[in-house]
Symmetry: C3
Subunit: 197 residues, 3 copies
């Protein structure tokens, strides 16, 4: 059984699915990615399975985070932290779309460095870092399979890693750290620091 | 009478006017915006009323911040915080100029997410958030009027919101939070934390 | 004799040389800079003297930091701070490459503002600020000499400052603050805050 309660899993699913739709629209409109099949209906710019897959990946990452270690009590404003975390990974998503027609090295360096800053900011410790690394490995593998089966392709200046973009692991690395932080914000007890006086 | 002292109002006016000149130069040189009239003299790339209007908006936003709630004592280096706040909104201003010829979705996502991060970083509480929201509504309305009367226009890839850019409310949202923080830095008492020993 | 121990100097040299190679590859591939001579062998996209010079500049900046003032004990995770600092300056390096074909004002504004945020985040005090200012002056002078002697040139949209880019002092400004912070992380005693209980 998942350590996530149903309401927590639903919240992560919705955030992931909506965030995936927003980021994917930027990728499709810039030609970073192109869907090659219309076998499934589209929502906005995305085939319907894409936001569902990102929502599911978000839930699975949150589940993994809770299995890997306990969550410290949270001190501070949760909504502010959640907004910062979600906006950070979507900003990197948008940057990856905007650099997709430029020389791959410069864009990749930017996306990778932003992802490092994002993970250093939001990963609370080894369990969150493991989630980020797992996402950085498994996410691109899933997308390489999608390219292989002809469901989608990356643009000609953004396909240097077995058909997907070289910066894709970095984007998923940031995703894993952000989802870990969101999961922690959902389940953490309030900090008792003001009660110690 | 304004809760701002004359010297404080002047400081806000100068910061706003100079920042407006810098950001507007980036907008004009990238074709994000174009002035359609030379009825007024120009300073650098801007019609003279533009920096005056931004300076005035900065003072009015600071005035609103002080009317909406008290300012907590400030602990830390004010110049460092002020430099970070000003640089943050001008960085977003420059990003909006640089994305103005790219697909509107990707650029808009980036500017919106950067604005969310900026507001989450600098808005101290509900009064500052109200200032940010007020700027996000009133700033674009003022610019829509300027476009309607033929004073200026936005580029063809950056005019999706009644003739102004879709990301314009986000830029003003960040502006409102930054001006609130600058106002707080101008009027806050020093924190007494080191005096408690 | 340098206040840096040999192992500390070597660490700074390696970080600087590798970072210089990564950033320079982005500059070369975007046409921001072009080497005009093949008198020296190349590593990746760089003439071999470039990473050596950046590594040496990193050591000299760290040496200057220690001569200018004592280093406070460090509280917190050093690896997280070091990763954030290194990624920040390399992100700015990559941004400078990506804006090099756009109107110089907008790109320069973005690079300058990011550098201000970076210095405000990483400069611990006056000694670090002096290191950042020294780098901002001496780095571009060295590159202007390299352009003058015909070793390299900047692109036609990025040569507005005596043949080098107008944003180059800002990039070195961020570099100086980041190297100061890395040096502090290498030499600082652990903070005794948890031992006071």
């Amino acid at each position: 059984m998942s350590p996530l309660k149903p309401g927590q899993a639903l919240a992560l699913f919705v955030v992931g699915a909506v965030g995936g739709l927003i980021g994917d629209a930027a990728h499709v409109q810039t030609g970073t990615t192109t869907y090659l099949s219309d076998a499934f209906p589209f929502i906005w710019e995305s085939a319907i399975w894409f936001p569902l897959a990102v929502g599911l990946a978000t839930v699975l990452t949150g589940d993994l985070r809770l299995r890997l270690g306990p969550v410290e009590p949270w001190q501070g404003e949760r909504l502010r932290e959640a907004a910062t975390a979600i906006a950070s990974v979507l900003a990197i998503y948008a940057v990856s779309a905007l650099v997709s027609d430029r020389p791959e090295m410069a864009g990749t360096t930017l996306v990778v460095m932003l992802a490092v800053i994002c993970v250093a900011r939001f990963a609370s410790g080894p369990p969150a870092l493991i989630c980020a690394l797992a996402a950085a490995v498994l996410g691109p593998i899933a997308e390489i399979v999608l390219v292989e089966v002809g469901a989608a392709r990356y643009g000609i200046d953004a396909d240097g890693l077995f058909g997907v973009a070289v910066w894709l692991p970095a984007l998923y690395f940031a995703f894993g750290a952000v989802v870990s932080r969101l999961t922690e914000l959902l389940v953490a007890e309030p900090a008792a620091d003001s009660a110690t006086a």
